[in-house]
């Protein structure tokens, strides 16, 4: 997240107003006037460089809220090392001057910069804004409210967020798993799930994230201490996100984490040992007493404490649980026009979902304010680059501690001294976190003050931080290419954590090699490539239609290509949702808008035949209604959806009374199946999901089962509905419907892989009777049901994604869904620029989630379209036409389609497509003539590094 923090801090279009709250807002969508109160920090943000010399002068200790009060801070503090804005702040509740006019020690300490201003007043800021996005997030459930667990009284009962800090290397115990009462390393830890969630006494909804984060914390703890005994006590394990189920299986099978299905009523403490005694009843009715060293409470999410006041100020409605009220079909719109919502304030959700929704809300803002796009922003004017062609190398080396990640293992002082001795190195400095904003400023100044003309950073991975540092040196007047990184964290202190001496030695090697290469670096030019401002959306289901419409509403022309002869995809077959909304109405409305939008062209019965080109300049052949066409466009959104698995198990397709949930819904809606005529209904969950062949969870089928079970109960309360399940995964507010289903008498019976239900038919004279046999763990015996209807909750399986994957050269995951660039931080981008993904093509999800993601894809796609150009990094390949003889091996091997053999005056020669080349170097490595050279990684540079290594 650090790169995003830093980028927000330095983006010329973002003004951060921290320590502040909105006091009022009036006006209307497009023209709001907001008043923001900025409380004093007593430190001038612009003057403070976060050097920290003031801290030791502050005599007051207070609890460190960032570390969940497990450590102390001074009243004068920086919230956390990578904080943005990177400046200190004084706590008004404990500072001696603020509360009783005494002390003023810190002012003395900061005499030179004079950043401390104990008389700083509060500020009222008036803002004119066109639109508002509310992202005030959540607060953790206050575990003290569950009195039986003794949180706050029993020292070794901690919350999950406290445990995050305990695990963290930058946390109160420096990453050592420690019991708060005695500092000992616990031998056994129990996690309690659903604390403050799924609980009548506190919150009835499911918090959606705590199962997966508990598994995560348990795995990390096991990695720290493999001998630890960890048990997770749960009601249902809800790992329904993309890739989460296999994470759960890993925890169980590879890490030996124990999972026990029960809810523990209370905790007792042993006064002698401070251990915790747990009494519980297992599923089969046995009573168990167990003692553990520590308990972690997986606390749920509640709306942020500020949200009530905020909702009044904003004039928006909250739902009964206190989260922002939204409609299933417009998940990011609040009840007030022009005010949008995203993240955990809309409903409990994890980071990928929050990021997706945030980007989704942006496309609505952009649709609303498309006329004013680009009118208020300043372009960052950079000083011209310094000409260094006549200078000899003057190299600066910066060695980062990365907190304790590097400094906790390697001897950083020795690295500094070592670097000072290397040829052409004229300046060396250490820094605690080189990526923090204040360090960046310092590095910039250092470059200027010392006339450095090349920079080597010995720190972490260039993958996340290189662009940031390149910007920094550019701001100091150096070309971005005059930069080299030595990854002494990942390659040295992480992998050789147990061997500090060797880790230090290897760091020296890497620094020496980095410096050797830096000597050869020369400035390189970045290319600007024009972007065609049209878009292609592939797939005309809900997601494709939503993103096409969103792009059009933002002012971009787009083509929508649908394989079937009609738009709608899976939405066509849905007739009611769990929340009783009408998907058919949604379909009609969006189709109508789409078909009438002047910027949208829809092709049905159409397919993509070939795609070439790169971000900004794609060329695509399509066949539509039998005709061939060619279109040029700048971006692509893949929204090709998925389909329902057609089961081969449980007599599906062999017996009329066996059908999938989707079929059941359709037949109820069409009136061809009368719920009144049903006596016993069985639903089997996870059919084709969570199996060996398809290990993932299909996410939506538990909700769909509730929907159909409730529908049957509504029409025919006398029907007996049995749901046979592995875990019920009605996450978020859907939990309500699970509760309701139980209340209305739906019977839930859990089965597991060793005891799958058995369906057979008893063929009689007139009709054949279905029989379902299942082991009931509560009764401890098999039961037999003879249902009139058997509904199978069949998996969502990927469609024919291979074709698109091949045409566009975008990857699929092992399950056959498209693989995004980064699960957490880039959930709708592909790693190939200019191509985005949304909806079921990405992974199973609900209508609501598909809409958010479709909006998100549209917002991401709109970024290059609105900018009109893309910048190509100078790391791309270049071909020496003299050496190349046009064999085409490079074209065959390039994973991004970024090098092609073309006819030139001197015959066939390879040519790089600069805009989409990622600089991976495959072509260069394989060229039999060594005709291809990589920007910033030339053969000469690499050989020099190897020689430098050998000289160590």
């Amino acid at each position: 997240m650090s790169p995003k923090l830093v980028e927000s801090g330095r983006h010329p279009n973002i003004k951060i107003i921290s320590n502040a709250e909105v006091k009022s807002i009036d006006g209307e969508a497009g023209h709001f006037r907001a008043t923001v109160l900025k409380r004093p920090k007593y430190v001038d943000e612009d003057l403070c460089n976060a050097c920290g010399s003031c801290v030791e002068y502050c005599p007051v200790d207070m609890p460190d809220y960032y570390n969940e009060n497990l450590a102390n801070l001074k009243s004068l503090y920086i919230p956390y090392p990578q904080a943005v804005p990177a400046s200190f702040v004084i706590d008004p509740n404990t500072c001696l001057f603020v509360i009783k006019n005494e002390c003023r020690q810190c002012e003395q300490a900061c005499k030179e910069l004079n950043a401390i201003n104990l008389n700083q007043p509060e500020e009222l800021i008036e803002l004119e804004v066109g639109s508002v996005i509310l992202t005030p997030g959540f607060d953790e459930f206050d575990a003290k409210r569950k009195k039986n667990y003794g949180y706050g009284e029993y020292g070794n009962v901690v919350t999950s967020i406290e445990f995050e800090r305990i695990l963290s290397a930058s946390g109160p115990f420096k990453g050592e798993i420690t019991r708060p009462t005695d500092g000992a390393h616990p031998k056994s830890i129990a996690f309690f799930q659903c604390v403050g969630s799924r609980d009548k006494a506190t919150n009835s909804y499911c918090s959606s994230v705590c199962c997966t984060y508990a598994i995560k914390e348990a795995i990390i703890a096991k990695e720290h201490e493999p001998e630890l005994d960890i048990t997770i006590f749960y009601m249902d394990i809800r790992t329904m996100g993309k890739g989460f189920e296999s994470f759960y299986l890993r925890a169980k099978n590879d890490y030996g984490i124990r999972f026990v299905k029960t809810r523990i009523p209370e905790i007792e403490r042993s006064l002698e040992t401070e251990n915790l005694v747990l009494n519980y009843v297992t599923e089969d009715g046995s009573h168990v007493t167990e003692e553990v060293d520590m308990v972690v409470l997986s606390v749920g999410m509640e709306p942020s404490k500020t949200s009530n006041a905020l909702s009044k100020i904003m004039g928006i409605q909250l739902n009964p649980s206190g989260f922002c009220s939204t409609h299933e079909f417009s998940p990011t719109s609040t009840s007030r026009e022009g005010i949008f919502v995203a993240g955990a304030f809309q409903a409990p959700k994890d980071i990928p979902e929050s990021v997706m929704q945030a980007t989704g809300s942006v496309s609505l803002v952009s649709g609303l304010l498309s006329d004013s796009r680009g009118t208020l922003v300043e372009t960052k004017e950079l000083e011209p680059e310094k000409d260094i062609s006549e200078e000899k190398p003057k190299i600066g080396v910066f060695v980062c501690h990365c907190g304790i990640n590097i400094a906790g293992v390697a001897d950083v002082t020795r690295l500094k001294e070592y670097s000072e001795k290397l040829d052409d190195v004229v300046y060396v400095e250490e820094s605690l976190y080189a990526c923090s904003k204040d360090s960046q400023e310092k590095i910039k100044q250092t470059i200027i003050d010392n006339g450095l003309n090349r920079v080597v950073l010995a720190a972490c991975t260039p993958r996340t931080l290189e662009p940031l540092f390149q910007d920094t040196i550019r701001e100091a007047g150096l070309n971005r290419s005059l930069f080299e990184m030595a990854n002494i964290r990942d390659h040295c202190t992480w992998v050789h954590a147990q061997e500090p001496e060797k880790a230090t030695e290897k760091s020296e090697d890497l620094i020496r090699m980095g410096v050797a290469k830096a000597r050869l670096l020369s400035p390189m030019k970045e290319e600007l490539i024009q972007v065609n401002s049209k878009a292609l959306v592939v797939g005309g289901g809900l997601s494709g239609m939503t993103s096409a419409l969103s792009l059009a509403e933002q002012g971009f022309e787009c083509w929508l290509v649908e394989k079937e002869n009609e738009l709608g995809g899976n939405l066509k077959t849905l007739h009611y949702t769990l929340n009783k909304n009408n998907p058919q109405k949604l379909l009609e409305e969006i189709k109508e808008k789409l078909l009438n939008h002047p910027l949208v062209t829809v092709y049905t019965s159409a397919q993509v035949d070939a795609i070439s080109g790169y971000i900004g300049n794609f060329e695509t052949d399509i066949t539509a209604g039998g005709q061939n066409m060619h279109i040029s466009h700048g971006v692509i959104i893949v929204a090709t959806g998925a389909k329902e698995y057609q089961p081969e198990e449980y007599l599906h397709g062999k017996h009329d009374a066996v059908m999938t949930q989707k079929k059941l819904g359709e037949r109820i809606a069409a009136g061809t199946l009368e719920p009144g005529a049903l006596n016993d209904v069985v639903m089997i969950q996870c059919v084709g999901s969570r199996t060996e062949e398809r290990p993932y969870c299909s996410r939506i089928c538990c909700g769909v089962a509730m929907k159909n079970a409730l529908k049957i109960k509504e029409v025919n309360p006398k029907a007996n509905v049995y749901v046979l399940y592995k875990d019920i995964r009605t996450y978020g507010f859907t939990e309500e419907y699970y509760t309701q289903a139980r209340k209305e008498g739906v019977i839930f019976i859990r089965y597991d892989d060793d005891n799958l239900p058995v369906v057979s038919e008893n063929i009689g004279e007139e009709n054949s009777e279905l029989q379902v046999k299942v082991f009931d763990p509560l009764l401890g015996e098999h039961i037999l049901i003879k249902p009139t209807l058997l509904a199978l909750s069949a998996a969502i399986i990927p469609g024919e994604n291979e074709v698109i994957s091949r045409l566009m050269k975008v990857p699929l995951n092992s399950e056959g869904f498209f693989q995004e660039a980064h699960v957490k931080l880039r959930p709708v981008d592909f790693s190939t620029d200019g191509i985005y993904v949304c909806g079921l093509a990405h992974s199973p999800k609900t209508i609501e989630e598909s809409i958010s993601q479709a909006h998100a894809a549209a917002a991401r796609a709109a970024i290059p379209l609105s900018r009109g150009y893309v910048r190509a990094e100078p790391i791309v390949s270049s071909v020496d036409e003299e050496k190349c003889f046009g064999c085409g091996i490079c074209e065959y091997l390039c994973p991004y389609g970024s090098i092609k053999v073309v006819e030139t005056a001197s015959g066939e020669r390879a040519q790089t497509i600069t805009a989409s080349c990622k600089g991976c170097g495959i072509c260069s490595a394989k060229c039999p003539r060594q005709a291809i050279s990589m920007g910033r990684f030339s053969d000469e540079q690499i050989l020099t590094q190897i020689v430098a290594f050998a000289k160590g």
Binding site: M1, K15, Y80, I220, F247, F345, I351
Partner: protein, 50 residues
């Protein structure tokens, strides 16, 4: 105006800014980051949250 500087607010601000809008990001605490800045690693990839 984006109200709340957790991961959702930060992402919204960055995308708006990249689309060419001027963004005011209002955060209640002295620094942005929200809960994610407190996490050690994140599921399911176990990447460092920072």
């Amino acid at each position: 105006m984006v109200v709340g500087g957790g991961i959702a607010g930060i992402q919204a601000s960055l995308d708006l800014a990249d689309l060419g809008y001027l963004v005011y990001l209002v955060e209640n605490l002295p620094a942005i980051g929200g809960t994610m800045a407190q996490l050690d690693k994140t599921f399911p990839t176990l990447d460092c949250a920072m």
